[in-house]
């Protein structure tokens, strides 16, 4: 089981070889409230680190999703487009957003581990 890392934009990322699975954290869903709409990046598109990779829209507001590492999108999770409420119920497993082929593994180094992220999300307040 590979380690899960976290970004300051409240995404989680799990590595499996060259493939990274990315979603948003439980903490992010609690801030957003009920999610009613998800827009995912297109398969085949290349997105640079911190680039825009979709949108989640809750009853309160729209928020951009960023990719914490650069790469090419190889899969996206249509099941959360069809049933956005899944993102609230299981954000860190079943409701992943997209998978990408990572181009620069060293980008992982600047991300937080679970402990660091928990501290960060607590300190960042809301």
């Amino acid at each position: 089981m590979s380690e899960v890392k976290f970004s300051k934009e409240h995404e989680w990322i799990k590595m499996d070889g060259d493939t990274a699975t990315i979603g948003i954290t439980k903490h992010a869903t609690e801030m957003l409230g009920d999610i009613v709409f998800v827009e995912l990046p297109e398969i085949g598109s290349s997105i640079a680190k911190d680039g825009n990779a979709g949108v989640v829209e809750s009853t309160k507001a729209a928020s951009d999703i960023y990719t914490p590492v650069s790469g090419e999108i190889i899969e996206n999770n249509q099941s959360i487009v069809d049933d956005p409420a899944k993102v609230n119920s299981d954000p860190e497993n079943e409701a992943w957003f997209f998978k990408l082929k990572i181009t620069n593994k060293s980008e992982m180094d600047s991300l937080m581990n679970k402990e660091e992220y928990e501290k960060f999300s607590k300190e960042s307040g809301n």
Partner: protein, 367 residues
């Protein structure tokens, strides 16, 4: 300046409220269930709303008050019955809306419910328009709560005897724990329900009783999705000082008799707009895609010209689709007309549609 806390603040906290700053008040935006669950619970059972931030203005009746109020409000106050409520507006000379409000004739005068963000200014405007001749009280010792939903009538009747006999937009005085409380059958969710004006010291016990009898606290978030599904305007968004009741498609609220007799503030403008139409008008809008067109979203026609702007937009939890309201140039206001909404730089197709999005279930009947 620190936000004002309502008398229910501690109860909100106990119920797991998340707070937001709203019109100078610390108000619950949602509780632990979240906006969608709260919305659905209100539609299927009964939700309790703390609306104590709203203004409760009493004007004491004396010499010619009715005549003088008719110079301000476009409703027939000479024929309003005791304990009857009417939806109306405070307008300026140009028929721009200062506020939308509910006026109820009670024993000894009139009660007016005002929006929180407007109430202090409304007080000054009304006082000036009445030449400072009447005693006016903006109550701070009273809380205001609403209970809304199909079960509201059973739950309130279990709590105090009597309100179930009230008709929509009618009220009366009731007793609760030796306190006089005033209840009207009204609300702003598209559901049957009641609004209760009650002393600050009694409100927590009363609301706890409603909870014990099966109702749940509902935050401002669900209040917004409920009222938008019901096609109702939110002041400061769907209506403001730059919109008139005719543009806002609210002319139903202007008394037919008063349209003939005139003599109220903004009458000339209202009358000419009814006769010759308005440049823009408020309409319901349904996006065809799963996008939410929020306030300030630009509206385009097929020729890619801007024809209006969204004033409220959300995802409707009961209708299970995105819904919105906004103003469009009148030539694009017919139901079914195809328009385009610009969201995050892309244009999405949408249609002008009938309001409300969700059918009301008010309990009407004899006066």
């Amino acid at each position: 300046m620190e936000n004002i806390k309502t008398a229910l603040y501690n109860l909100h906290q106990k119920q797991g409220a998340k707070f937001v700053s709203f019109a100078g008040y610390e108000m619950p935006i949602q509780y632990s269930d979240g906006i969608i669950e709260e919305h659905k619970f209100t539609r299927s059972q009964a939700g309790i709303f703390d609306v104590s931030h709203m203004g409760q203005l009493f004007i004491k009746d004396r010499d010619k008050l009715v005549e003088n109020l008719e110079k301000i409000f476009p409703i027939d106050l000479k024929n309003i019955l005791l304990n009857q409520s009417k939806y109306s507006f405070l307008m300026n000379q140009e028929a721009g809306i200062h506020d939308d409000l509910i006026i109820t004739k009670i024993k000894g005068g009139f009660n007016i419910i005002l929006n929180a963000a407007c109430k202090n200014q409304d007080f000054e405007v009304i006082k000036r328009l009445l030449n400072n001749r009447y005693e006016m009280i903006l109550h701070t010792e009273l809380s205001l709560i609403a209970i809304q939903g199909p079960e509201a009538v059973n739950i309130i009747e279990k709590t105090i005897k009597g309100p179930s006999s009230l008709k929509f937009m009618n009220g009366n005085l009731f007793k609760y724990l030796d306190a006089n409380i005033y209840i009207t059958r009204s609300g702003y969710t598209g559901e049957d329900g009641f609004e209760i004006s009650i002393q600050n010291e009694k409100v927590e016990v009363f609301v706890q009783k409603l909870i014990d009898n099966g109702a749940k606290m509902i935050g401002l978030g669900a209040r917004d999705t409920l009222r938008l599904e019901a096609g109702l305007c939110l002041y400061g968004h769907d209506i403001n000082i730059k919109t008139t009741p005719v543009e806002a498609n609210l002319k139903w609220a202007i008394s037919k008799k008063r349209l003939i007799t005139g003599g109220f503030l903004g009458y000339e403008k209202v009358n000419s707009q009814i006769e010759s139409g308005t440049k823009k008008v408020r309409v319901g809008i349904t996006p065809e895609n799963r996008i939410i067109a929020r306030e300030k979203t630009k509206i385009y026609n097929k020729e890619n010209e801007v024809i209006g702007e969204i004033t409220s937009g959300t995802f409707g939890p009961s209708v299970q689709k995105p819904i919105a309201m906004g103003y469009v140039d009148s030539e694009f206001s017919n139901i079914g007309i195809k328009i385009f909404l610009e969201v995050r730089g892309k244009k999405y197709p949408a249609k002008v549609c009938k309001l409300p999005f969700y059918k009301k279930s008010y309990v009407k009947g004899a006066k």
